[in-house]
């Protein structure tokens, strides 16, 4: 059972897109839109080796943050959240390790099965790594009103 507040859990389950911020080579923030996959404990994302700079950044500095703020991409949910955590890259075999998260991915983007059948046309797109994020601290805003101070929740082991 996750320690994440229920509204944040719902956002993670629903969101079709989030913004992942990683720490770049110079220490600068670098943000990428990605699909957040949530198994109730960890946030997963997958990244093709084609767009792998974020993977290099995470390997250098695993501190990341995930933002969900678009009601259109969240089935109308208006809450907003930002989740800080530690990331690790899972890429034992970039050809197939990522298929571990296929059920979660398929649930949010059913069309991925169609593209997977066309793997021969996009071979590098389907050489992928999994980003696994362990949430440590959550900031969230009821109704998405970020002009207000956020509510904050921290992982039990961090508290």
């Amino acid at each position: 059972m996750s320690w994440l507040p229920a509204p944040v859990d719902e956002l993670l389950r629903t969101a079709l897109v989030c913004e992942l911020t990683v720490v770049g080579r110079r220490g600068e923030p670098v943000t990428h839109p990605l699909i957040p996959l949530w198994d109730g404990e960890r946030i997963y994302m997958t990244s093709s080796v084609l767009f792998s700079k974020k993977l290099e950044h995470i390997k250098r500095d695993p501190k990341v943050s995930v933002s969900i703020s678009d009601p259109v991409a969240c089935g109308g949910l208006t809450d907003t959240c930002s989740i800080q955590g530690d990331a690790r890259i899972i890429e034992d075999d970039p050809h197939e390790t990522w298929e571990l998260v296929m059920p979660l991915w398929r649930a949010k983007e059913p069309a991925i099965d169609f593209f997977l059948k066309k793997r021969f046309a996009l071979p590098l797109f389907f050489e992928r790594s999994v980003i696994e994020i362990r949430p440590k601290r959550v900031l969230w805003w009821r109704g998405g009103d970020t002009a207000q101070a956020p509510r904050v929740a921290t992982a039990p082991e961090e508290a």
Binding site: V30, V49, K63, S82
Partner: protein
């Protein structure tokens, strides 16, 4: 900040401001904003989390449109980096650099192609870390199909069938030699396809092409790291050796000097299509040499294997096929023209205007059908070959496709596919016409003129 970037940003309803917190973790908050493009300003409203003025921030706006049961489309995002300064109740972004992607501007497949180098770099890094090669994988069957562009072998099947049919009409037919001819032609064609990729990689043409389609831009197996340049060169050399070996066997078996001459011409055209020093395709001779190679050379070669002589009829019958296959290359070169031009490949679409290329297609297709019709009506080739006119409507579909989608590689794909069908259908109907004539002669005591 430049006006164009700000105008793009203004189309998004909200943005995310991200920065690195004192504990090293990135901090993010959504924020309301407004832009004044003419002043080059981005103003962000104060947020519950104080926005920092002492460090670099990354500002991101992203958009998707959910598609229930599918996922989403309309992917786009814009990312800006800079520093914030307080002005009244707002924060103003200073000295930003930007990056972004909009799939309506840069289609997903182009975006992927532009990222090939990053993928190869990353896989190279993984290989070094692990001490073993980490490479993209596909099944050997798919890799072979892609590398050799096997579906395009219809360009070989059509003229060889036609050559065999012309000979059969004259009473010459040996199924064993027909199969060997087909295998030899296919091997040479594979050698050509793969050599083309090797030389287009060496010249930089394929690397510079970010809009490949299933019909153009080469097989991409080298660009995608599936096979190395050396492996492709080996496949090409092997295919040529097999093709030349089979060809020599046929020359010896059929004791035909004419066949030897045709075979040598065919191999030379094939090799020097992209290979130095001739590099025929770089000199604007690619369309013509492709027409000659997959037209008269193959039709006459297949005929000579069967009949052990040359024939004016086979030559005339090969002309429409030659024009159609040249048109396959011609249309497939349209999306490649920028990359070809940068690599010095002076193809017809590189040298000609859009109007001229479009009209050129129509003129060539009409000429092919006119030659076929005149030859059939005058009795030079069998009248049933007029069946090939059934393919004519496809030519007009391709023409319309070129007219409408000349500048859009992915939308042009339908026309490119129809153009391949045009060559295949017209060629097979021509072959079918010959077979009707052969069967009528075999089965009827005095076949009517319409069937011969």
């Amino acid at each position: 900040m430049d006006r164009e970037t700000l105008e793009k940003l203004a189309a998004y309803p909200r943005l995310i401001v991200a920065w690195r917190g004192d504990d090293g973790y990135p901090v993010q908050t959504a924020a309301r904003f407004r832009v004044n493009a003419s002043k080059g300003e981005l103003r962000i409203e104060r947020t519950g989390l104080p926005l920092p003025a002492d460090r670099e921030v990354n500002i991101v706006a992203s958009h998707i449109r959910p598609q229930p049961g599918v996922g989403y489309d309309q992917r786009r995002y814009l990312s800006l980096w800079g520093s914030l300064a307080a002005e009244g109740d707002e924060m103003v972004l200073r000295s930003a650099r930007s990056w972004g992607w909009d799939e309506n501007v840069t289609p997903f497949f182009e975006y992927v192609e532009r990222s090939n180098r990053q993928a190869k770099r990353y896989l190279g890094q993984l290989s070094r870390e692990r001490g073993v090669p980490v490479k993209p994988r596909l099944s050997p069957v798919w890799t072979f199909l892609l590398a050799t562009r096997l579906p395009f072998l219809t360009a070989t099947v059509v003229p060889i069938l036609l050559g065999v049919a012309v000979a059969a009409k004259e009473g010459f037919f040996d199924i064993g030699f027909a199969v060997l001819t087909l295998l030899a032609g296919a091997a040479i064609h594979i050698g050509l396809n793969v050599a083309n990729d090797v030389f287009d990689t060496l010249s930089g043409a394929d690397d510079a092409n970010y809009n490949p389609t299933q019909f153009s831009g080469g097989s991409r197996v080298i660009q995608r790291g599936l096979l190395s340049l050396r492996q492709m060169a080996a496949i090409s050399a092997t295919a040529y050796a097999v093709g030349a070996g089979l060809g020599l066997y046929l020359v010896i078996e059929r004791e035909s000097v004419e066949l030897l001459a045709i075979g040598v011409i065919g191999v030379l055209i094939s090799v020097f299509y992209t290979a130095p020093p001739l590099r025929l395709v770089h000199r604007g001779l690619g369309e013509m040499t492709t027409g000659i190679g997959f037209g008269p050379v193959m039709v006459m070669g297949a005929y000579a294997v069967q009949a052990q002589k040359l024939s004016a009829e086979a030559l005339i019958a090969s002309v429409p096929v030659a024009i159609m296959i040249a048109l396959v290359l011609y249309v497939n070169e349209i999306p490649d023209r920028a990359a070809d031009a940068s690599a010095g490949k002076r193809t017809l679409p590189v040298r000609m205007s859009r109007e001229a290329v479009t009209r050129g297609f129509l003129l060539a297709a009409v000429t092919a059908f006119a030659i076929l019709s005149l030859a059939a009506v005058s009795g030079i080739i069998p009248r049933p070959t007029l069946l090939a006119l059934l393919a004519a409507p496809l030519a007009f579909k391709v023409y319309q496709g070129i007219r409408e989608h000349y500048e859009s590689p992915y939308e042009l794909m339908t026309a490119m596919g129809q153009n391949v069908q045009l060559h295949l259908m017209s060629g097979l109907l021509l072959f079918g016409g010959y077979m009707v004539s052969v069967l009528a002669t075999e089965l009827l005591d005095s076949p009517p003129g319409i069937l011969t």
